[in-house]
């Protein structure tokens, strides 16, 4: 692994923030540290960047342990949540800053900065000052400034948190594309699971100072390793020891996680060949293309979706449903299960 995190632990006074975290990051990949606030993800990022010292453990980039190396000499790029642009320097000088400290010649600096400005569509803004830029433009400048000196690893702390929804959406795609195009090994922190799923190659789900699961977005979404991951990532229903036709379920107690899109609803007159459950419609919410349905399944809440063009459901109506796929938790260890007669088994769900 290009970046190795080895048994990193961090205590602040009496409080344990990180509990012996270990994982590796492949060269050129984009990794998300995902977790709720207080999970230790930002502390971990700051330790990797050298802004904090770990209580124990070490960090290695490309086989070289960098614990005792000063942030200046680690060869990393860091983008702060609020961008921290140098407000008395123009966009051009902001980007050139890291090249000037390395004593590049002005010709080479100009070539590099102009090339980066062109790639990122910022050429017209080169002579502007940071306070003359919009949020999205500032974000791009901060990012370009960080990658200009060719860092070994790029760290981004909540890179989209300060932007409004539409620009955030646009920049996510842009960032992913540029990072892959340039082949920079990158790690970013986020609390937003859709953001992590959309742009990361690999997601490290953190909770309470521990790593809950490491995997591709599809793995983490479809095969949550623990109940925490199941609840934190995506919308789903958690049922306590339900009896479900077509599944081999253990003896109670156990928990079952079901994604809304895995539940198919059939009205009385709609035929189905698969094993079904009986449930009652409690709420129906129109959300454009889809209709969100809240059902009562033997006293437990189950969320489902239904196409808007299908026959409308009435509140209080009794319906049949099939559950195509679920994740079973026994002693907080998750196993994905598919409805038995379904064939062939789909290995992964297209995101």
């Amino acid at each position: 692994m290009y970046l190795e995190i080895n048994q990193i632990a961090k205590n602040f006074k009496q409080q344990t923030v990180l509990k012996e975290i270990s994982f590796g990051v492949k060269a050129g990949s984009l990794t998300a540290l995902l977790g709720p606030s207080g999970s230790g993800k930002t502390t971990l990022l700051r330790i990797l960047a050298g802004l904090e010292t770990p209580t124990t453990g070490d960090v290695a980039i490309d086989g070289q342990v960098i614990n005792r190396v000063k942030p200046q000499d680690r060869g990393i790029g860091f983008v702060f949540q609020n961008y921290a642009l140098f407000r008395y320097l123009t966009v051009y000088d902001n980007i050139a800053f890291g090249l000037r400290t390395q004593h590049w010649s002005e010709d080479k600096i100009k070539a590099r900065v102009d090339q980066l400005l062109a790639v990122t569509g910022l050429t017209a803004l080169a002579q502007r000052y940071p306070n003359q830029l919009s949020g999205g433009q500032k974000q791009r400048v901060a990012f370009v400034r960080a990658i200009a000196p060719n860092p070994k690893v790029l760290f981004l702390d909540e890179p989209f948190a300060a932007l409004d929804t539409q620009i955030r959406q646009e920049l996510r795609g842009w960032l992913k594309q540029v990072i892959h195009q340039m082949g920079i090994t990158s790690i970013f922190v986020t609390h937003d699971h859709t953001e992590a799923i959309e742009i990361a190659d690999e997601i490290v789900v953190m909770n309470d100072g521990r790593v809950e699961q490491i995997g591709t977005p599809a793995d983490v979404y479809n095969q949550p390793a623990s109940q925490f991951v199941a609840e934190f990532i995506g919308h789903s229903s958690l049922l306590e020891s339900p009896q479900l036709a077509g599944y081999q379920l253990p003896t109670a107690p156990y928990q079952v996680q079901i994604r809304p899109e895995q539940v198919a609803i059939f009205k009385k007159n709609e035929p189905t060949a698969l094993p079904t459950q009986t449930a009652t419609v409690k709420h129906v919410t129109f959300c454009g293309a889809l209709i969100n349905v809240e059902l009562d399944l033997n006293g437990q809440r189950l969320f489902a979706t239904r196409q808007a063009q299908q026959a409308p459901l009435l509140i209080g109506e009794t319906v049949q449903l099939t559950i195509n796929r679920l994740v079973l938790f026994k002693d907080n260890v998750g196993h994905a299960q598919h409805l038995q007669p379904l064939q062939p088994v789909r290995r992964s769900y297209a995101l």
Partner: protein
């Protein structure tokens, strides 16, 4: 109703402010100048050219330049340390920096008499400190110390250290960060702190009066000279010397306005 379009509030507020300025600021300044020139131009310039006056100017300028220079370095160091680092005793240090502002200047003078005076802890020093310029320099540094640090600390804390950290990630070392990132950003509060420190250093009376010993041509600063002349019933001379202090203050404020224009950002 729009509060900020109401003339019934705007005009009374303006009148109160201007009345205050007129009575407490403009009138006294006009008075100083009319009194200073009461015996004519020639007398005015003869007072300014007097050896005692020239010596007082010399001592005041030396004390001011020295204390403001030291203030710049100490204030910047203290502000940088308090705003950017965590260390035990940070709150205590932050409180101690304010101390010179809250202690009466006369007490400050007495403290240094107790330290350097004939029965003081350090009376065995080779050179004369008390009733000599060194004591004047020391008390002036003491009373002006908080001004730069006080302006900078809240500004640096509110601004955060992320620009400095980013510069460090980009390979910059301490002096590059200080010169290229921090100093341009703190120009305005630093300038304000320096102006306040200069004004206080020039005008400091209480602490300096205690340690100076009031020796003409030796330990008289400008404010002490004004006091001496006034006590000798030389009112015109006293006001003439006072105009030096006033004009210097105007000069410094104007200089600050020209040099440190509020920047974009």
């Amino acid at each position: 109703m729009n509060l900020f379009q109401s003339r019934r509030i705007k005009w009374p507020l303006l009148i109160i402010t201007w009345l205050f300025m007129l009575v407490l600021l403009i009138l006294p300044i006009v008075l100083v100048f009319t009194q200073a020139f009461a015996a004519g131009w020639r007398h005015y310039f003869s007072v300014l050219g007097d050896l005692t006056t020239l010596h007082a100017i010399n001592l005041s300028v030396a004390a001011t330049v020295l204390s403001v220079g030291i203030n710049l370095v100490l204030g910047l160091s203290a502000a940088w340390a308090i705003a950017f680092y965590d260390f035990p005793g940070k709150k205590l240090l932050n409180t101690l920096i304010d101390l010179p502002l809250s202690v009466s200047p006369v007490i400050v003078g007495l403290i240094f008499i107790l330290i350097f005076g004939r029965t003081g802890w350090l009376q065995g020093l080779h050179w004369q400190v008390i009733f000599a310029p060194p004591a004047i320099f020391i008390v002036t540094i003491f009373v002006t110390f908080p001004f730069v640090a006080r302006e900078l600390i809240p500004f640096l804390i509110a601004r955060g250290r992320e620009e400095e950290q980013t510069a460090a990630f980009l390979g910059a070392h301490f002096w590059q960060i200080l010169r290229q990132i921090t100093l341009p950003a703190i120009k305005a509060p630093l300038g304000t702190g320096l102006v306040l420190a200069t004004a206080r250093a020039l005008g400091e009376f209480g602490a300096v009066a205690v340690v100076s010993g009031n020796i003409p041509d030796k330990t008289l600063t400008l404010p002490l000279l004004v006091q001496n002349l006034y006590n000798d019933f030389k009112f015109t001379d006293a006001f003439a010397v006072a105009t030096i202090l006033l004009l210097t203050t105007f000069l410094i404020i104007t200089l600050k306005r020209i040099l440190i224009q509020p920047q974009k950002g």
